[in-house]
Symmetry: C2
Subunit: 342 residues, 2 copies
DNA sequence: TCCTTTTACGTAAACGTTTACTCTTTTTAA
DNA sequence: TTAAAAAGAGTAAACGTTTACGTAAAAGGA
């Protein structure tokens, strides 16, 4: 069907080896030959076949990405960072939506293995035991982004969630808040759930503040769960002046629930988010939030993959990226907010 | 390095042809041989090499997707629909972020061609002349989703934007609104920009309503442009009671600008969005919006690709999917809204 | 000048599959 | 029983590259 290197070779009256060398910018041919071949390539509209290349060269210039959720601002921002870097390095991205389902992820890993990807990026989800085993059995490097695994020590790039939660909580406290509600991720999640909870509790304790259990709730980082969590917190009718939700989507959920109940943010209560996705920008009021540098993380993840491909020796390639508090409009000083159930 | 079909064959004492047949579920071997080979495969942990398969079978089970923007709810919802269907059919997705840049898209197309994808999905952006030529020169089928091209008639799946804009406008009019502001996409965009504008104007005219030009503005479908467009509209100080923004992100932008100006939605003005992404759900108030069935569109797009691969003959494969108005809280009847500058 | 090195190529093997042909052996049908 | 058909298996070519190796001619050095 399509034009191959053989066609070019025949047409230009040279061997395929010469064409190959010219195409790949190696040396071993004269200037005139080069021009003739290049012209033939142009005329015939020859495009090298990356599949054939991949077979002999044993690299495919493609990277597999596993994401629990594709829709959602978190994933897309991460993905954008990866795409940009991958593209610049000549790589393409296979993106897979695991939906946090064990079997889907396994299937994805299997497919990526068959497709001989040069690396795998496992993003923002917990790794199960069997997934870890699959990852280990792969010949290509794997890295985590915005997650990690205690049992399977692949390199990761993430923020220090514990510290970030501390920073966020401290920020609220410094603004004068003492009665703070908390909406976390699942405590069963040892990576993104537990540490943020611990950071929150630790910081409260360090400031001799009590965390009222009925002011805590745990969701799945998504909008709806934030909304419901906040409604539950409201039911307790315990006094509070601020709420820390550990994802912007959940924070948007509290904004939404608050709006339904006629509670004003930030006049009645302050709300602090986490992630700094577009949800934070678009929210009303715009969310003050603990930023994760998601594009940068995506970028670092593919850079990490690439560097692992070169130096097989790679102890301690982990990257802790810096979190940063972005002030917008959803948090006010204690003195300026009314509070609820006081 | 890794285990190949040869290793399996040798170990099991059969030829590679037999292993191949067994792996691919063809026939031509005995039950006992099959079991022995399967056991060997298990023991050795053999995984077929899709690259080699792709070379001989001339299909790669992968599809390239070109999106102007990865971050953003629109793209991610579309992508989720595609991924689901692709996965079920055994395909993987290469996703590319063109950023609406001519050269990036060309580069992407080139790479996808080299990687021998089985199909290309071009999403939600205008096709340039040279991109169209590249698409034509590809051996694999290409389809549009949420866009189309007048000069390059590839099959597409999209809503009828003109009709959808009509429906949206009519909805507002039926609610009693007469002075309606409009925030459209670029009029230079003959696919997603112009038709919505025309639908709006036509419907206004059909109802003997005047469109006040200073109440119209044109953005790029993104949040910021919606925000700025609305601020410009405000500057005109012309009376209006509702605004129709042709993307949820832009509608969220008007919500945001309105909030900043102390304008209440929906008490002062009604706002109608377009797309029905999560932005509409999360907005405050939740947006009434013209829904595009994005997952379904993603699904249809890959189905279309797949069907094009079988029947080479494919006249009129276009799919117009149904738009639908989703009522939430951002539009009120005229009698219940105060309006601005009256 | 002659020998050595470099340059400019061509040949052919390899990469891991699938598949069209073979060739036996077994089963089926008459 | 026997011819025909089916089943079970192997051989080898092909897919489109890259690359190690070989070789002849050109260039360089003394």
């Amino acid at each position: 069907m399509s034009i191959t290197i053989k066609d070019v070779a025949r047409q230009a009256g040279v061997s395929i080896a010469t064409v190959s060398r010219i195409v790949n910018g190696q040396k071993g041919y004269g200037e005139k030959t080069k021009e003739r071949v290049l012209k033939t390539i142009e005329e015939l509209g020859y495009t090298p076949n990356a599949i054939a290349r991949g077979l002999v060269g044993r690299e495919t210039k493609s990277i597999g990405v596993l994401l629990p959720k594709l829709s959602g601002l978190f994933a897309s921002k991460l993905l954008e960072g990866m795409e940009e870097t991958a593209r610049n390095e000549g790589y393409s991205l296979f993106v897979c939506h695991t939906d946090s389902k064990e079997d889907r992820a396994i299937q994805d890993l299997q497919v990526l293995k068959e497709k001989q990807v040069d690396g795998i990026i496992y993003a923002s989800d917990q790794l199960s035991e069997s997934q870890g085993q699959m990852l280990n059995s792969m010949v290509c490097p794997a890295v985590f982004v915005s997650t990690q695994s205690l049992t399977h020590p692949f390199p990761y790039v993430k923020v220090d969630d514990y510290q970030a939660a501390c920073t966020g909580t401290r920020y609220l406290i410094e603004k004068g808040h003492k009665q703070i509600a908390f909406i976390g991720g699942s405590l069963e999640d040892p990576i993104a759930g537990k540490p943020r909870d611990e950071g929150f509790r630790r910081t409260m304790k360090d400031h001799h503040l009590k965390v009222e259990e009925s002011l805590t709730a745990y969701g799945d980082f998504r909008f709806q769960s934030g909304k419901e969590s906040f409604k539950n917190i409201l039911k307790a009718e315990k006094p509070f002046t601020a709420v820390f939700a550990v994802s912007d989507e959940m924070a948007a959920g509290v904004l939404s629930a608050a709006y339904e109940q006629g509670i004003s943010v930030p006049d009645d209560i302050s709300v602090l988010g986490y992630d700094n996705t577009m949800a934070a920008e678009m929210a009303i009021p715009p969310l003050t939030t603990m930023a994760q540098p998601l594009e940068e993380m995506g970028q670092k993840a593919v850079e990490l993959i690439l560097s692992l491909r070169e130096n097989k020796e790679n102890i301690n390639k982990n990257e802790i990226v810096k979190h940063r508090l972005i002030e917008r409009k959803s948090v006010l000083e204690r003195s300026k907010t009314k509070g609820l159930f006081l």
